[in-house]
Amino acid sequence: MKIAKKLVDEATINQFIAGDVKAFDAIFEAYNAKLENFAYSILKNESDTEETVQEIFVKLWEKRTSLKQTSSFESYLFSVAYNTSMTLIRKRSKEKHYLEYLENVNTDSLINVLESEFTEEELQQLQQRLNKHIEALPAKQQEAFKLKHFDRLSYQEIATSMNISKNTVENHIVKAHKYLRESLKKDYFIVMLLVSLLN
């Protein structure tokens, strides 16, 4: 596994947690471009990107004392960036003019911000990881989940094909998601542990 290089040193992070504005500025200097690029991949327009990055840094400052271990700074920053960007795209996904923009914008004109493209291998790796978790689901939940997400059936259609009530289908799917969330969290924890050991 490739280990991301650190853009700020531990001393700076410690000063930042203690409330040092200069250290905060150094973090901004180091991560602003990366955060802008990351948010842009998700949102695909300038003004939303700018707003999101602003919000990420404000949150980072306000919650700085909850950051106990300096070693997990990157990971923490990622979580804030991920959640903030997702909150906005969730809102935008309901807006007609935004969807029209995505449909009509020339995708070649959007800026590519990646240092390396996703490889076929990585894609499969992600897919396998996801499959592993789905296959660990109890049989009924797994069936309902697959019909919903792979075959794109509606709750009613799933109910008919599995010969159970619509309520039960909904129940299965809610439980499946809950289970997956838990198991992914554990999986993620193990991955992170490996990364920190390698460090």
Binding site: N37, S41, N45, L99, L110, L123, L126, L180, K185, Y188
Partner: protein
């Protein structure tokens, strides 16, 4: 569960036919954890290359300001707790003496509350409004009955009551105006817009609130102003400005930003100058659209990150575009104009395209 679709979206290789599905899928909160590994990978792959546009310092300043704002809010909470403690001990002492103060206090209250009201009611009785319009492509300046001066920018409209002097100096603005208000501390001057209201006594400031823009902006040159928003028919204070500060409210996100600025850029229009100071291309084109009464389309999303620093005075649209094209990778094309049904020519349209010279 369409990992490939999501990756294609994130790397701009998506197809317009299924982008709605992908975004729906992404936006589904239940998938948040499922997709996290994809985004972690994306994060690792995301480069730190700087983007075309400058203005990083300005963005850091905006963040500092926001942090200060929320910081202040926290401090205020603490202060009020201390104040409440002091208040309760002082109250015990005072309450004994208070009885002797109640009667004169009540009569004072009656005097101050009753009389100004009756004056107000008289004044509002006869309201005839005057309306001044500066069409797109022209500017106007005028003096109001109280001696205050107003400059109106292209495509703006100002409405004010004819009996303007005295207690109720309120104008209504649609568009952009620069105000030099005659000093009268007893009777504040209000500029109402659909989005917010600016309250001033004697002072120089600019207000920008076009109906077709979701933003409200005001810039203070001299004196003091307060920005207010009407909620449930009551004006509530949003922010106070000091000279050389710029206030911007974005309706889309309901957020506002106050910045320290050089006001020249914001008020240059009143002297017929078109001024840009590290402004992004969409902003520049928006201004040109109003100034020259044209529609401008930016064809390439990439171009939206270009920024410009320039001042134009008494130049034609063609001269301005030509100069912008010489200093940046753009070219412009006029579209052929058709006749409208009533025989007039339709508005001129210009398209801005990407053009890498040489």
């Amino acid at each position: 569960m369409d990992i490939k679709g999501i990756i294609n979206y994130l790397t701009n290789h998506y197809h317009k036919d299924n982008v709605r599905d992908t975004v729906d899928n992404l936006a589904d909160e239940r998938n948040n954890e499922l997709y996290e590994p994809i985004f972690r990978m994306l994060w690792r792959k995301t480069g730190s290359q700087k983007r075309l546009k400058s203005g990083e310092t300005a963005r850091l300043n905006a963040i500092h300001h926001k942090i200060n704002l929320s910081g202040k809010a926290n401090n205020q909470k603490d202060n009020s707790r201390i104040r409440r403690l002091m208040y309760s001990t002082t109250m015990k002492v005072l309450s004994r003496a208070a009885v002797w103060l109640v009667i004169p206090f009540l009569s004072f209250l009656a005097l101050t509350m009753w009389f100004p009201k009756s004056i107000l009611i008289n004044n509002q009785a006869s309201v005839v409004h005057t309306e001044v319009v500066a069409p797109v492509g022209s500017q106007i300046n005028l003096t109001l009955p109280d001696g205050s001066k107003v400059w109106l920018n292209h495509g703006s409209r100002l409405t004010y009551p004819q009996c303007f002097k005295g207690a109720c100096r309120t104008v209504h603005l649609e568009g952009e105006g620069f105000f030099e208000v005659e000093s009268d501390f007893k009777h504040p001057f209000f500029v109402e817009t659909k989005k917010m209201t600016v309250k001033a006594t004697g002072t120089k400031f600019n207000v920008k609130a076009y109906d077709d823009s979701p933003d409200f902006e005001t810039t203070l040159v001299e004196g003091r102003v307060a920005v207010m928003k009407t909620v449930d028919e009551k004006r509530r204070l949003i922010s106070k400005l000091d000279p050389n500060q710029h206030f911007k409210f974005k309706s889309e996100s309901s957020k506002y930003i106050v910045k320290d600025i050089d006001p020249e850029k914001y008020i240059a229009w009143k002297d017929g100058k078109l001024m840009f100071e590290d402004d992004a291309l969409p902003h520049v084109m928006r201004k040109l659209e109003r100034w020259y009464n044209v529609d401008i389309i930016i064809e390439d999303e990439k171009l939206k990150r270009l920024t410009y620093k320039a001042t134009f005075f008494d130049e034609t649209l063609d001269q301005v575009l030509e100069k912008l094209a010489t200093v940046s990778p753009i070219k412009y094309e006029y579209e052929k104009r058709e006749f409208n049904e009533n025989g007039t020519l339709e508005k001129r349209k210009v398209t801005i395209k990407y053009d890498l010279k040489n």
